[in-house]
């Protein structure tokens, strides 16, 4: 019975129209040809989306459409493919799980609401957004933008342009380099990787840690209100540092200790250079402690 369902869905997919499932979950399996760097747009209101890059020139969708789904909009071919769960009612309660294989060099645009997003083995570009749910991107994507409101964001790979943001969740970036923008409000922000040219890191209350290198003339900015900041940099890094905290402590293993500058306040500031200077490193907090250590 299941194989008959899958077969019928495959046939229907050939004309871009999948049957309208009844209330219960139904399995889908469908394929469409796609160019190597196709734009693949995926929308699943709730549940999960797992995208895997492969070396074939086609997009394959498998998974389960949730109760309340009216079908899978699987259209386009060649340079642009669309995969979207259509729903009969409020889409945010229709929980579907999709696994989508795409050409490895695809340009992905993935959107969800109450759903997690996982991407692996894609070397093109990845844009992933969700409100409630985690986002995990691994592999060699050259550009990554991952944004969640209520969920952890984890990016691991060699991307050179990375944006990773959450409101209520941790943000972890590993292996990236080049240009990075990362922020969260409450979660921890953890960055480790290669040589960055520009890194802008912000939290409000979450801790912030950076463990990486700086390209010549790079800019690294780290700012929190109450979260602690830890930077681990090569001891010989060529950089000019500007550090300040209003009421936090400063523990500096890269240069001189911070001095208190406020006559009536505990404010501490520190400016110094290492390796002859070059890159610009600025760290500012209100009450979060600041630690600078050697890698």
């Amino acid at each position: 019975m299941a194989s008959k369902t899958v077969l019928s869905l495959c046939l229907a997919a050939a004309v871009g129209l999948l049957p309208r499932p009844a209330a219960a979950q139904q399995k889908v399996e469908a394929r469409r040809s796609a160019s190597a760097d196709a734009l693949v747009e995926i929308e699943n209101p709730a549940g999960s989306v797992r995208v895997i890059g492969w070396e074939r020139g086609e997009v394959m969708v498998t998974g389960d459409l949730g109760a309340g789904a009216s079908g899978l909009d699987f259209t386009g071919s060649g340079s642009r493919i669309r995969v979207s769960v259509d729903t009969e009612r409020n889409p945010h309660g229709v929980v579907s799980s999709l696994e989508v294989h795409v050409p490895a060099k695809s340009r992905l645009q993935i959107e969800s609401f109450n759903g997690s997003i996982t991407v692996s083995e894609v070397s093109g570009t990845v844009s992933a957004e969700t409100v409630n749910g985690s986002i995990t991107v691994s592999g060699q994507a050259r550009e990554i933008s991952a944004e969640s409101v209520n969920g952890a964001v984890q990016v691991s790979g060699a991307s050179t342009h990375t944006k990773a943001e959450s409101v209520n969740g941790s943000v972890v970036v590993r292996g990236a380099s080049g240009d990075l923008e990362a922020s969260t409000v409450n979660g921890r922000l953890e960055v480790s990787g290669g040589a960055f040219e520009r890194a802008h890191l912000e939290t409000v209350a979450g801790s912030l840690s950076f463990d990486g290198a700086l390209a010549s003339g790079a800019t690294l900015e780290a700012e929190t209100v109450s979260g602690s900041v830890t930077l681990a940099l090569p001891a010989n890094v060529a950089a000019d540092f500007s550090i300040s905290t209003f009421s936090g402590g400063v523990d500096n293993a890269l240069g001189p200790p911070a001095t208190r500058v406020g006559e009536h306040t505990p404010e501490k500031e520190l400016e110094f250079s290492t390796g002859g200077g070059g890159a610009s490193v600025s760290v500012h907090t209100l009450s979060g402690g600041i630690t600078l250590r050697k890698k």
Binding site: V149, V167, A205, V225, G262
Partner: protein, 227 residues
């Protein structure tokens, strides 16, 4: 077309992504269906609100004369504007911002800064004061202006989120509220620090950047929720 079909395609209709035939079909439906027309108008209003928000909000220099006049007022220095701001910011925020302004004013006066038109000013131009690159933010009235603009942006975004409340799960709203409280607590901490150290340009920057984080978080919710 049914109402459900029309509402499913309202985003594309509003964005102009439909074919002429599809557009006409939806137009025809909207002309005869008040609930769908209302939904379409609500969507347009929401988009307009979100689109009207600037990427980065900086104090508007052209508001300076008006703000300065209102802050000083005919009856003397009035630190809390009485129109609009209270509604936007809430009494506690206004009081907190005003306290910061009082402290900043005192600090800047002791440093020799005399705003244009203030008693003792010899010309219509503020005397320069060596406060570094962030000196604009250290101007107390401009800082209040900045807080006001952020408060307005926040209120607009909260209204947009309110308009989307049917699609925003209660637990998501609760998470959002908890994070907004974190940011508001942080803002309160920064304001308290500014009262202790009114001449601190880094704190002034932290105040505006924390406001910006709040606006960014709200914009993200509005945008993703609409998606």
């Amino acid at each position: 077309m049914t109402c459900e079909e029309v509402r499913d395609r309202l985003d594309e209709y509003v964005d102009g992504d439909l074919t002429e035939a599809e557009f006409q079909e939806i137009e025809l439906h909207l002309d005869g269906c008040a609930p769908c027309r209302a939904e379409e108008r609500q969507l347009r209003a929401l988009i307009a609100q979100a689109a009207a928000l600037p990427e980065e909000i900086q104090p508007a220099a052209d508001l300076w004369p008006d703000l300065a006049a209102r802050l000083r007022g005919p009856e003397g220095l009035r630190l809390v504007p009485r129109t609009g701001l209270a509604r936007w910011m809430g009494p506690m925020s206004v009081a907190a911002a005003a306290a910061v302004v009082v402290a900043l004013s005192a600090a800047l006066w002791t440093r020799g800064f005399v705003p244009a038109g203030a008693p003792g000013a010899t010309t219509g131009v503020a005397r320069p004061v060596a406060l570094g690159a962030s000196s604009e933010l250290l101007d107390p009235e401009r800082l209040l202006d900045s807080e006001r603009e952020y408060a307005r942006a926040t209120a607009d975004l909260m209204a947009a989120i309110e308009a989307q409340k049917e699609s925003l799960a209660p637990e998501t709203r609760a998470v959002l509220d908890a994070n907004l409280k974190t940011i508001d607590d942080a803002l309160a901490q920064v304001r308290a620090a500014l009262i202790k150290d009114p001449g601190n340009s880094q704190l002034a920057h932290l105040l505006t950047s924390t406001h910006q984080k709040k606006v960014d978080a709200l914009k993200r919710v509005v945008r993703l929720n609409r998606t």
